[in-house]
């Protein structure tokens, strides 16, 4: 998959995770993606953060420092209304992409 598409996919994964779990820190998002995809999807953990910050600047997500269950300070992310909308759009366009690719594969 091309690099640009990968980024879009990562956004989609993060947004979906947050919409399912609610509030989560970066490490938790990584764990959730792994678990939910049956360990099929392994993101490079560091590359998550530029994406998180970019989405925050686009006002799709909001962040807040809070304590984890083990008493560690971590930055928690949460979906905004704009993020909800973005998620819906991203899901739709991903669906299109998958449909398109499938059609291509079948055609051969």
């Amino acid at each position: 998959m091309a690099k640009n598409d990968l980024q879009g996919t990562l956004d989609l994964l993060v947004l979906k995770t947050l919409s399912q779990v609610g509030e989560l820190h970066g490490y938790g998002i990584v764990l959730h993606i792994q678990r939910a995809s049956d360990a099929l999807l392994n993101v490079e953990e560091g590359s998550l953060y530029p994406a998180l910050h970019r989405m925050e600047q686009s006002s799709w997500i909001k962040s807040e420092w809070a304590l984890t269950e083990t008493g560690r300070k971590a930055k928690y992310y949460r979906l905004t209304a704009a993020g909800q909308k973005q998620l819906a759009e991203a899901e739709k366009s991903f669906e299109q992409l998958v449909k398109g690719i499938r059609a291509m594969l079948r055609y051969a």
Binding site: H25, E44, S47, Y49, P50, R54, S59, A74
Partner: protein
């Protein structure tokens, strides 16, 4: 607001970095904890965590990049794209820029004047600490001058001031260098003046406390930088130069720094001398050796006093402390009256009841502020309205353009640009336009404010005001530009937000439904332009007609063909006894000039800002109970004064040369005075006295009643006034009035020569015609009338451009419809009529709103009007007719174009 946050983040990059670091660290540590819980050794756990994470430095940089740079980069792209768009339509850009430059420039120009005249602090050390001392006499009101003894008490006994200074302006000093005389603007200062203000000299030394020790002992002078440049060409050998000021020798000891002009904005001080030198520079005023000696008499108030408060001392505390000192000084003043003709229980009561007041002094004396504050704010209101018209105009232009750009914007939206992104782009373009207009406006303003200054101050050569581009003015311009961008930029942005992509892409732009929204909004804009223009035109009309009334109403004298000049012989060494012979010689010699019809003189001269009042007793007159006796104006005049001024003598006779010392004492009163004291009875032969006036001249017999004449300004109500024969009570300092057979300017040279032949060394001041004097007294009114007319016309022109644009656009859009109408048999005249009717309906709509608005607005300037009422119907009618006529012309071209539509072509192009 993400953009704002990102720009802020630029300035706090290290904080952003720290926060990201903390976040990444917490991630790696959580992974390590889990790893250890899964049985790894700490070392293994750490390696695994780092491996999974990737390079933390790179991650941090990329995350920070997302936080900081993203917004700025796209702004720059917006700016470049905006510039390209504006370059692509140079006509639109030029018109918009010129319009904005006019609007913003006018506002900046007027504001820079307001700033310089009304808002700016003095160029001295810590001006905000300065206070001006004033006294309040309950019966007279505010007084801003103090006696020299009172000043010394303040200086020596206060516990609240870190310094106190006194000064007195000295207009028209005869400043003689190497035998060459010239007029200069001077002041007498206390020794503390320069040190308290913190004003430095660039050459030599300032005037010091030791220069203020004894009367007449310190003939030293400090000159201003500008005077040094003008008179001495920056000659560095200036210190130690001996000069003659009003016939008395002085030595120049220093030159003040260039930025210092004195303590009154608008006025430039050329030379300062110690106030103890009063008797040398103004012997006529000093009254040395008499009970009225300015340096000794505690009741002679002649010094302005300013002080610097000690740090931490409040205004109330300082006032209380100074009040106790002042009260003692007032008691001395009351005692000092003993044996003087001024003395009366009332006079003493008034002195003892006087209290002290401190006012902020950091802006200097208030004279200029008071004189120009109202007119400047009126003009500021006018230019603000003009700016609104400007905004409406540019908005209208942008609206037309937005329509043309609909397809472009629709395409951008269709290929995936966010609506917000497009709106931001459009706003960027508006801001670029406003910035360009603001920059041009700034240039226009500097040129304009200089010309305005000349208009404002032209009557007084000694006035000067520095209008420089400083941070306040630049800040104002920036604010106004942004505000305009916001006002007119909202419209295309709003349109883009409303845009429906599909029809915009598929339909012919000319036929889209959206255009009806455009013309509705356009109509609203044009109507509001017409409304505002009408308000401005009515205001300008009222002010202009008031000016005309002031000029044309009969002032009680004939202002044509009169030349004025002033002399003050005591200043150049004459003795009191020599005055009358000198005046007689002058009258005789000037009267002998062939073109001179008649000559006389008076102390104040017509429309002079100076005046004198006294209270009088009228023989046999008993005031009705409760009647307040108004103070009576006094004007000492020469023989044949009323004949020369052509003020009608209603009863009795003019003064003659025979009304002199020794002859029976006489007086002439004006109509208002006669009516006030005598009603319909004949006052001739009755007597009055003025016990408080100049050592009590005794009983004076009324020999004439003259018509009321304006004394100080043309607006004043007639006041009871008495005229004294100057030959009976001689004094120095008179203004000659010379009536000539034709243009008085032609006689000026002959008169100057004649004065020279009488006394070569007698300086002549203020040589000018009475007409010029009248004009000078109207400088404010003329300024306001001229500027409001100028801006009113400008607003009208802009409204016409707006109307023209709208109608041209409408005709263009309706070409098809017009073609069909014609094909169905409509006449060309009917088509043109249709367009004109639409124009007129807009104009009448604007007028219908504008007339009540103008009537309301004109009430705000009621005090500036003369001889007409705020809602003057004639002015309203004229303004409405002008508006209708001009706007009709503006729609003529579009109407003709509509009438010349070729129906075949119009239909074929469908």
């Amino acid at each position: 607001m993400p953009l704002f946050r990102r720009v802020l983040n630029l300035f706090s990059r290290s904080k952003v970095d720290r926060e990201i670091d903390a976040e990444l660290r917490s991630h790696i540590e959580m992974r390590m904890e889990d790893n250890i819980a899964n049985g790894m050794s700490p070392e293994e756990a750490r390696r695994d965590a780092m491996l999974r994470f990737g390079n933390p430095v790179v991650v941090r940089e990329r995350a920070a990049g997302a936080d900081v740079a993203l917004g700025l980069e796209s702004i720059w792209a917006d700016v470049r794209y905006g510039l390209r768009q504006l370059r692509r339509s140079p006509g639109f850009t030029a018109v918009a820029l010129i319009t904005l430059a006019l609007g913003i420039g006018a506002n900046t120009a007027i504001f820079s004047l307001i700033d310089a005249a009304l808002l700016k602090m003095l160029p001295v050390k810590d001006p905000q600490q300065l206070v001006e001392l004033k006294s309040v006499d309950p019966s007279v009101g505010l007084n801003d001058q103090f006696s020299y003894p009172a000043f010394k008490e303040f200086r020596d006994r206060n516990q609240v001031l870190s310094g106190v200074l006194a000064f007195r302006k000295l207009h028209d000093i005869d400043f003689e260098v190497d035998g060459q005389g010239a007029l200069a603007n001077g002041q007498l200062v206390s020794g503390s003046y320069f040190s308290v203000l913190g004003v430095k000299t660039i050459f030599g030394r300032p005037i010091l406390p030791e220069d203020e020790t004894a009367a007449g002992q310190n003939p030293v002078a400090v000159i201003g930088y500008d005077y040094w440049r003008e008179r001495f060409a920056l000659d560095p050998a200036i210190v130690g130069k001996r000069v003659i000021l009003n016939n008395s020798p002085f030595t120049i000891v220093g030159v003040t720094a260039p930025e210092f002009f004195g303590l009154q904005p608008g006025e430039r001080i050329d030379v300062s001398v110690p106030l103890t030198m009063m008797a040398q520079v103004r012997p006529d005023f000093a009254s040395s050796g008499s009970p009225y000696d300015v340096l000794k008499a505690p009741f002679r108030n002649w010094l302005y006093v300013m002080a610097r408060l000690q740090p931490g001392v409040s205004n109330e505390h300082a006032t209380a402390n100074l009040q106790t000192i002042f009260a003692e000084s007032m008691r001395e003043a009351a005692d000092g009256l003993a044996g003087l003709p001024y003395d009366s229980p009332a006079a003493r009561r008034s002195l003892l009841g006087t209290t002290l007041r401190l006012e902020l002094g950091g802006q200097g004396l208030a004279a200029l502020r008071q004189q120009f504050s109202k007119p400047l704010w009126i003009i500021m209101a006018v230019v603000s309205l003009l700016l609104l018209v400007t905004c409406a105009n540019v908005a209208n232009l942008l609206l037309a353009r937005a329509n043309a750009r609909q397809r472009e914007i629709a395409i951008r939206l269709a290929v995936g640009a966010g609506r917000q992104r497009v709106i931001r782009q459009l706003i960027t373009e508006s801001i670029l336009l406003a910035a360009g207009g603001g920059a041009l406006g700034l240039l226009l303003a500097f040129w304009g404010s200089r010309s305005l200054l000349v208009l404002m101050l032209h009557s007084r050569s000694t006035m000067s005001l520095s209008v420089r581009p400083d941070s306040t003015v630049l800040g104002f311009t920036l604010l106004v530009s942004l505000l305009t961008a916001l006002l007119f930029g909202m419209i295309p942005a709003w349109r883009a937000a409303q845009l429906n992509i599909t029809p915009a892409l598929t339909q012919n732009a000319r036929n889209t439904d959206n255009t009806s929204g455009r013309s509705r909004l356009g109509k609203v804009l044009v109507v509001s332009q017409i409304t505002i223009s009408l308000v401005l035109m009515v205001g300008a009309g009222l002010l202009t007609r008031s000016l005309k009334n002031l000029k044309n109403f009969y002032p009680g004298f004939n202002k044509e063909n009169v030349l004025l000049f002033s002399i003050n012989p005591l200043m150049t060494g004459y003795k009191e006894a020599q005055l009358i012979p000198l005046y007689e010689r002058l009258l005789e010699h000037i009267g002998a000039i062939p073109s001179v019809r008649s000559t006389s003189f008076s102390v104040h001269g017509p429309l002079s800002p100076n005046f004198r009042f006294t209270s009088i007793k009228v023989e046999g007159y008993v005031p009705r109970s409760g009647q307040e006796l108004a103070p009576i104006g006094i004007e000492p005049v020469g023989p044949k004064y009323f004949g020369t001024a052509q003020t009608p003598v209603l009863r009795g006779r003019d003064f003659t040369a025979a009304d002199r010392e020794g002859a029976s004492k006489v007086v002439i009163i004006n109509e208002t005075m006669a009516r006030y004291y005598f009603g319909d009875a004949n006052p001739i032969g009755r007597r009055l006295s003025m016990p408080g006036y100049r050592g009590d001249p005794g009983w004076l017999e009324i020999v004439a009643v003259v018509k009321d004449a304006k004394q100080h300004d043309l607006r004043e109500q007639a006041k009871p006034t008495i005229y004294l024969p100057l030959f009976q009570i001689p004094e120095s300092g008179v203004t000659f009035e010379i009536r000539t057979a034709m243009n008085p300017s032609n006689t000026a040279a002959a008169i100057l020569n004649t004065v020279k032949t009488v006394d070569e060394r007698l300086p002549v001041f203020y040589l000018k015609t009475l007409n010029d004097q009248v004009d000078d007294s109207l400088v404010q009114e003329r300024l306001v009338a001229l500027l409001s007319s100028m801006f009113g016309v400008l607003a009208l022109l802009l409204a016409c451009v707006g109307l023209y644009g709208l109608m041209a656009y409408t005709v263009n859009r309706r070409t098809n419809e017009i073609g069909i109408r014609m094909a169905l048999g409509a006449k060309r005249a009917q088509i043109a009529g249709m367009v004109l009717r639409e124009t007129l309906s807009l104009v009448f709509c604007g007028l219908a709103i504008g007339i009540p608005a103008a009537m309301g607005a004109s009430r705000l300037i009621a005090s500036e009007l003369y001889g007409l009422k705020p809602g003057d119907p004639t002015t309203l009618l004229i303004a409405c007719s002008v508006m209708t006529a001009v706007t009709f012309l503006a729609s003529y071209l579009p109407a003709r174009r509509a009438a010349s539509v070729n129906p075949m072509q119009a239909l074929r192009s469908e």
